[in-house]
Amino acid sequence: MTETGLPASVEAIRRVREDPHRLGHRAHGPAEIIAGAGHGMTGPASKRIIVGYGFWIYLLSDIVVFSCFFAAFAVQRGATAGGPTMDQIIEVPRVAMQTAVLLVSSYTCMLSFAATNARSRLWTQVFLAATGILGLVFILLELQEFAELAARGITPQRSGMLTSFFGLVGLHGLHVSAGLLWLGTMMAQILVKGFRPEIVHRLICFNLFWHALDIVWIGIFTIVYLMGAG
């Protein structure tokens, strides 16, 4: 309330009438309702879009985590502290194998999503299982690599370079493992509950997650392995 005892809104109406120049005022009259004009004018989006979009934002933030580990690798790749260098620890054939496995798993993941959209439980499960098995093979290959390196005394404790190498590749491996855990849970959910809306939403998210991990892997095999081997 102002000194005149009136709410400012009442005074505003008066003043707008008294103030032909409308200093700093804009019109507030009713305007046309623009239905379906895009820009989210038409009210809240559906749950499906909200979930997908929120997960998308999460993925972007996860990529930022990776970017820090990439930056650390870029900065420390020369910091061998007298230990082995990149080209001494890389085995291109295994990386090619891992890349192939992960790429095909992205493909089967996509097919499972196509099956979900066709509401085929069986094929969804089959393709999800294929994705999981391929992911598992990927992880086993990575573990094999790490174990062989460790057997040669090449561990992250050896040098800054190795720290950043194991950190970056290991972080990706950790994500894939978490993805496998999630995948198992999703398959169980489909088995028990079928395609409820919220389960389909989660499958969309899982699909996004898995493809994003493949995108990160493209960065890793290019920058760490191929460029490190050369």
């Binding site: 309330m1 102002t2 009136l6 709410p7 400012a8 809104s9 009442v10 005074e11 505003a12 109406i13 008066r14 009438r17 200093l23 700093g24 005022h25 804009r26 019109a27 507030h28 009259g29 009713p30 309702i33 623009i34 989210g40 004018m41 038409t42 009210g43 809240p44 989006a45 879009i49 909200i50 979009y53 929120g54 934002i57 999460y58 972007l60 933030s61 996860d62 930022v64 985590v65 820090c68 580990f69 930056a71 650390a72 900065v75 420390q76 910091a79 061998t80 502290a81 992250p156 404790q157 050896r158 040098s159 800054g160 370079m161 190795l162 720290t163 950190g167 849970t185 959910q189 028990v192």
Partner: protein, 670 residues
């Protein structure tokens, strides 16, 4: 069995932490007993702890923030008094203890005081201002809050069990590496900040999605209130840089726990990389805090000037400009670490450019007041005090952003004065202004203005008396984080600063008194209309406090300042819009998954800090199991029947109609 944990972890020889924790534990026990005796547990459990209502979560965030502000303030009092008595003397705090205090002070104030408050405001306001009924992911919202609380709990546990870091609020290696900080202090820091950081990230994602995907019909981007815009910008920054914090702390954790070499000064580690990464988070972090503060002030200036915000579009543009440019300036925190001219120049210039965006905002606020009928209510006092204080803080920031000048002032008390100038004058003033402004919305009655004014003047004067001496001392060469002082000439300024702290204490007391008096007189201060300040955005269209579903019918927005338009039409036509058809509403059911996760996060953090590996594994498995159970639930929502919606809405309409009648009887209507 218990890792590194044994009885020697309790600092029996140090009375200050011991007595403090004893008092805290007693008070906490007292509260628990009271709750039990009164039988309040069911209410607390159903309506607050497991609530997924964004308003409740927002209020709990603010409560946590206020508690932590008080804890941090106690640290501050100890530091200022220690420096005043330790001139050519020992003082009453040992170096080990003093170092823990300044570390805890910085960490708590920024991450557990200011952040929860800012996030609390965003949580409470954004859905209301957008005209919707909840945030995008209500249950995750609860998880986010409880994870933050879990981090705060861990930090406070360190008071009694073990110790806290002695590294400063950003634990620079190599000091923070195992070789130089073998104790659990840094581990407490790492896990507390890591856990709460993840909570913050969740909230950030939540609010970005809410703003971009969940606006009521007609609420296009350029009709959103400025506070919502700043919340969006701030949360975009959270999404962009909190992962950097997560990554950086994870790297330091790996160094400390398994002997890796990210930041060690041996074997090819690179301590400077930590400084680089942590500031890539740290600078945007201060803008995460200040942008919503700008939003709060924008709402207050236009409401209490009775005018639309001057230059609304330029305000939005400036917000987004600051959001992007603040990602480009982080090196100004380590100009002195030896980069060459090219790098220092680039970051010096980009830092100064931020001030342009801020300048646009300052002019907009001033022009909003110009030509308006300014009401000097308490929120407005804080806002005007902010303009004055923040301009000085921004100017000293620009000074620091000039690399050659920074070589003189870096890590001096001048720097300390700068950031307190912007954080207290900007963020904390905004919090108090906003609390005063939205308190009636949250609780249904206003705060008693008299004590609010006392609090404002004490804070304003106290702030300047405390920190002006620090600017001078900084220029005289006093560095930050000194446990004792060997230059007697600095004494007088340090005494003045203590006087300032005393004034600030009076201000804090006034705030508490204000709260008590207002609760006592709440019937007199009751806000019956739901629009106590003649507000302009949609939150004022709801009753105070709003029903849990916020809006009986989703508003249909037809212009900027959504509610103002509705209100003016009602006044001009002397009637409310015709009564709508009420439909049942679906609302999310409450869920204990938030507290559950946070409980095991706390256990996990504690186990990791003390190297109790089995417990850490148990906690992880339990947390995962909790998520699976949560994912399995069948009921996500419950229906509010149309009659209940109608009842709430009719009550609201009745009070608004009464107001209109009263105005027309007084002959006030035009």
């Amino acid at each position: 069995m218990f890792g590194k944990l044994d009885l020697s972890a309790v600092p029996l020889s140090e009375p200050i932490p011991l007595i403090t924790s004893a008092v805290v534990i007693l008070v906490a026990l007292g509260v628990l007993v009271l709750i039990t005796v009164r039988g309040w547990w069911p209410y607390l459990w159903h309506d607050w702890i497991t609530s997924v209502d964004h308003k409740r979560i927002g209020i709990m965030y603010c409560l946590l923030g206020v508690l932590m502000l008080i804890r941090g303030f106690a640290d501050a009092i100890m530091m200022r008094t220690q420096q005043a008595v330790a001139i050519n003397a020992e003082g009453y705090l040992t170096p080990e203890h003093y170092n823990q205090i300044f570390t805890a002070h910085g960490t708590i104030m920024i991450l557990f005081g200011a952040m929860p408050l800012v996030l609390g405001f965003m949580n409470f306001l954004v859905p209301l201002q957008l005209g919707v009924r909840d945030v995008a992911f209500p249950t995750f919202n609860s998880v986010g809050f409880w994870l933050t609380a879990s981090g705060a709990l861990l930090i406070n546990i360190s008071l009694l069990i073990g110790e806290f870091a002695r590294t400063g609020w950003l634990p620079y290696p190599p000091l923070s590496e195992t070789a130089y900080s073998p104790g659990v202090g840094v581990d407490y820091y790492l896990w507390a900040v890591q856990i709460s950081g993840i909570g913050t990230l969740i909230t950030g994602i939540n609010i970005v999605t809410t703003v971009l995907k969940m606006r009521c019909p007609g609420m296009s981007y350029l009709r959103m209130p400025v506070f919502t815009w700043t919340a969006l910008a701030s949360c975009l920054l959270i999404v962009a840089v909190f992962p950097v914090l997560t990554a950086t702390l994870a790297m330091l954790t790996l160094d400390r726990y398994v002997g890796w070499h990210y930041f060690t000064n041996t074997a090819g580690g690179n301590p400077m990389m930590f400084v680089n990464l942590i500031w890539a988070w740290g600078h945007p972090e201060v803008y995460i805090l200040i942008l919503p503060a700008f939003g709060i002030f924008s709402e207050i200036f236009s409401t209490f000037s009775g005018k639309p915000l001057f230059g609304y579009r330029s305000m939005v543009a400036a917000t987004l400009f600051i959001c992007v440019v603040s990602l480009l300036v982080w090196l100004h925190h380590f100009f002195t670490m030896g980069a060459g001219a090219a790098v220092n120049t680039f970051f010096g210039i980009s830092s100064s450019i931020i001030a342009v965006g801020t300048g646009v905002k300052i002019y907009n606020w001033i022009f909003t007041m110009y030509g308006g009928r300014v009401r000097f209510e308490v929120p407005m006092l804080w806002s005007m005090g902010f303009i004055f204080t923040f301009i000085i803080g921004g100017l000293t920031g620009v000074l620091l952003a000039i690399p050659p000048a920074d070589f003189v002032t870096h890590n001096s008390l001048f720097l300390v004065a700068h950031f307190h100038n912007v954080i207290i004058g900007g963020v904390v003033f905004a919090i108090f202004a906003g609390a005063e402004f939205w308190f009636p919305k949250a609780f249904g009655f206003r705060l008693y203005a008299g004590w609010g004014k006392v609090a404002f003047w004490c804070a304003f004067i106290g702030f300047w008396v405390t920190f002006t001496p620090l600017y001078i001392l900084g220029l005289e060469g006093m560095t930050r984080r000194l446990q004792h002082i060997n230059v007697p000439e600095w004494g007088p300024w340090l005494y003045v600063s203590v006087v300032g702290v005393a004034i600030l204490i009076v201000g804090v007391v006034a705030q508490v008194v204000q709260l008590v008096v207002s609760i006592r007189d709440r019937e007199l201060l009751r806000d019956v209309t739901g629009d106590p300040w003649d507000g302009r955005s949609l939150e004022w269209a709801t009753p105070s406090p709003p029903p849990f579903f916020n809006f009986a019918v989703m508003p249909n927005v037809e212009g900027e300042e959504a509610y103002w338009g509705i209100k003016l039409r009602a006044i001009e036509t002397q009637q409310l819009a015709p009564e709508p058809k009420y439909a049942p509403i679906e609302m999310p059911v409450h869920s204990p998954v938030g507290v559950y996760t946070a409980f095991f996060a706390t256990v996990f953090g504690f186990a990791m800090i003390w190297h109790i590996w089995w417990l850490a594994i148990v906690a992880l498995v339990a947390a995962f199991a909790g998520f699976v159970v949560f994912a399995w639930r069948d009921v996500h929502e419950f229906e509010v029947p149309a009659e209940e919606v109608a009842r709430a809405e009719r009550a609201r309409r009745a009070s608004r109609e009464a107001l209109l009648r009263k105005l027309s009887e007084e002959g006030a209507l035009p």
